[in-house]
Symmetry: C2
Subunit: 354 residues, 2 copies
């Protein structure tokens, strides 16, 4: 399942989750409840190799030798417009990025709209224009769509589900299960901007923060990274659940430990301040225009330089490394020199963030 899982059939929850009789907001969080939903309900029903791989996009082969990446993302963000973006840009970038994170070149998108009766057509026009601009920026075409309308009160303005198709490159496989002892872990820039920008737009900060969402198509950044080195093992965008959840997915899929240097994790001062006030850890806050790169040590410097030369990678940093074990663990070396375990997001941090 895109955007979330990681080697889901072997995802071991440290604490068994209680039997859940009803869907709660946490099931959409990208964290443990969602992993549980996927592992218990979706995977057994739809069982197939592509789904089980648990990456951001499925690899499919519709004809011999033609390997494609296929992905989907539903978007329900509120409000529809926020500093730096809107649901339209998000719907295009989210799926473009999921396809790109398999190392594929995104080419085509589909878009399914659920519109609420009474939605101003001017709002729809703005969203559609934003989607078109984002698609043009990413170099993808929206080739098919569908529109449904539900009665007032049965949606929240509009929801958009996109699917994306991309062409896989030749070269070493890229995926969450490819991280190896000794690899380096990089991020493309400061974390938490998207989540805090959306909260700010909701008026939930209690103050005005000058923070814009980072929502952006990362496919050109990915192309440069893959040109820079053939040692790239994992690409993943830390969306819902944030960096912490993404690194846990990689650690579990690859059966390795990820060691993160707290002092190296880039967070803007305004985001750090907002998180401190709200009691959030920026490691769990959603990003929509950042990526994690796991790369063999020999390739790390070249990849870092390549990222820094790109519009959406200027703030790239090395934040840690991969170790052989303890398998499935993410450990953080704090500023005080101690080490603590970083787990996946447990509950619901920010509902309807994307």
């Amino acid at each position: 399942m895109t955007d979330t899982p990681g080697g889901l059939e072997q995802l071991s929850c440290p604490l068994p989750l209680p039997h859940v009789e009803r869907i709660v907001l946490g099931h959409g969080s990208g964290g443990r409840l969602m992993h549980d939903l996927i592992a218990r309900r979706f995977l057994p029903a739809f069982d197939n190799e592509a789904l089980r791989a648990g990456d951001d996009a499925a690899v499919v082969e519709p004809a011999p030798g033609v390997r494609l990446a296929l992905s989907t993302d539903a978007h329900v963000v509120t409000p529809l417009f926020f500093p730096g973006g809107d649901i339209g840009r998000l719907a295009v970038c989210g799926t473009v990025n999921d396809v790109a994170m398999k190392g594929a070149t995104p080419l085509f998108l589909t878009a399914g709209f659920v519109l609420e009766e009474g939605l101003p057509t001017e709002t729809l026009d703005r969203v559609v224009a934003s989607m078109a601009a984002a698609a043009a920026e990413a170099g993808v075409a929206v080739v098919a769509g569908d529109t449904k309308v539900v009665e007032r009160g049965k949606a929240d303005g509009l929801y958009i589900t996109t699917a994306g198709l991309g062409l896989l490159r030749d070269g070493p496989a890229i995926g969450g299960a490819m991280a190896r002892d000794g690899d380096e872990v990089l991020v493309s820039g400061p974390l938490g901007d998207h989540g805090i920008a959306v909260l700010s737009a909701r008026g939930q900060l209690g103050f005005t923060a000058d923070i814009e969402s980072d929502v952006a198509p990362l496919n050109r950044l990915v192309a440069r990274v893959l040109q820079a080195s053939d040692q790239v093992r994992v690409l993943r965008d830390p969306t819902r659940g944030g960096l912490a959840t993404t690194l846990n997915e990689i650690a579990r899929q690859s059966g390795v430990a990820v060691l993160v240097d707290e002092a190296a994790v880039p967070v803007r001062p305004a985001v750090a301040a907002a998180c401190e006030m709200l009691g959030f850890d920026p490691l769990y806050v959603a990003n929509e225009g950042k990526m994690v790169v796991v790369v063999g040590a020999e390739g790390a410097a070249a990849v870092l330089e390549a990222m820094r030369g790109c519009r959406y990678g200027e703030g790239a940093r090395r934040i840690g490394s991969v170790q052989g074990g303890p398998a499935g663990r993410v450990l953080m070396r704090t500023a005080f020199g101690s080490t603590r375990v970083i787990d996946v997001l447990a509950g619901e941090l920010l509902p309807r963030i994307c």
Copy 2:
């Protein structure tokens, strides 16, 4: 845009539509308001050849010589369960059929879920099991998914948007623009079952009708039809907007007239009775397991025989023919020998039918 349009850039509305400031239920009807929404708002923004073709699925070529059909459909049917089907079976079959209607072999699906907080997990399990069964019946794999949760009152149980990918066959192109003077028009069975079954499940009939939805995957039926003749020009499933709207799309895309023999149009007595009571014309009622075939006259008998040998084509009938003009018109020869114009659906017949 899938499921709906037809040569949309040249779609001429006999009556100019008023300026609309807000989305109304009719924008999801499959009829004129939806065509207008697509032609005015989506097509200009996303303009590309695949979209402009206006068929049920887009034809894309991600690598030289590899021609694929890509489609999407959002599903918001209420109630979630109805005689003969449910939203899960609908979400799989709707997209499988859109891909199949380009003459392609559906292979892979994605599924994006929007879940309402409070949805019983048992309901989700039933829907997912139904999707899995329909996918198995169609021979497709659900390879990627995404789940979002919205607060109580911000959805209606659950919505499912699927996208589908299929491999195009070699052979003559199939699409709404391929109908020619002299072709025959066939349907695969009786019309209106889905719409009336859903109405019945809503208790809106005022009586209990023994009518089941026809929701079914038609890809195997399509394969048999294409084996039977190389004269197949158009395949289309008459979903929202019904047979009348589908034939209008074909007439406009191909620049031909379609002449329908009223007495030949198959409608079950129970559906006809329900329609008469409700003041509906079964020609406008949605189907989810039927298809229209336009085929060269020499191939019609073989296609009809092939359809009748299939589970979902037993009730196949010849219902009319294609004429050179008047271009873009659908004409019906009534039982009394007169001829009347059949237009696209004008307003909203049955909201949230699929």
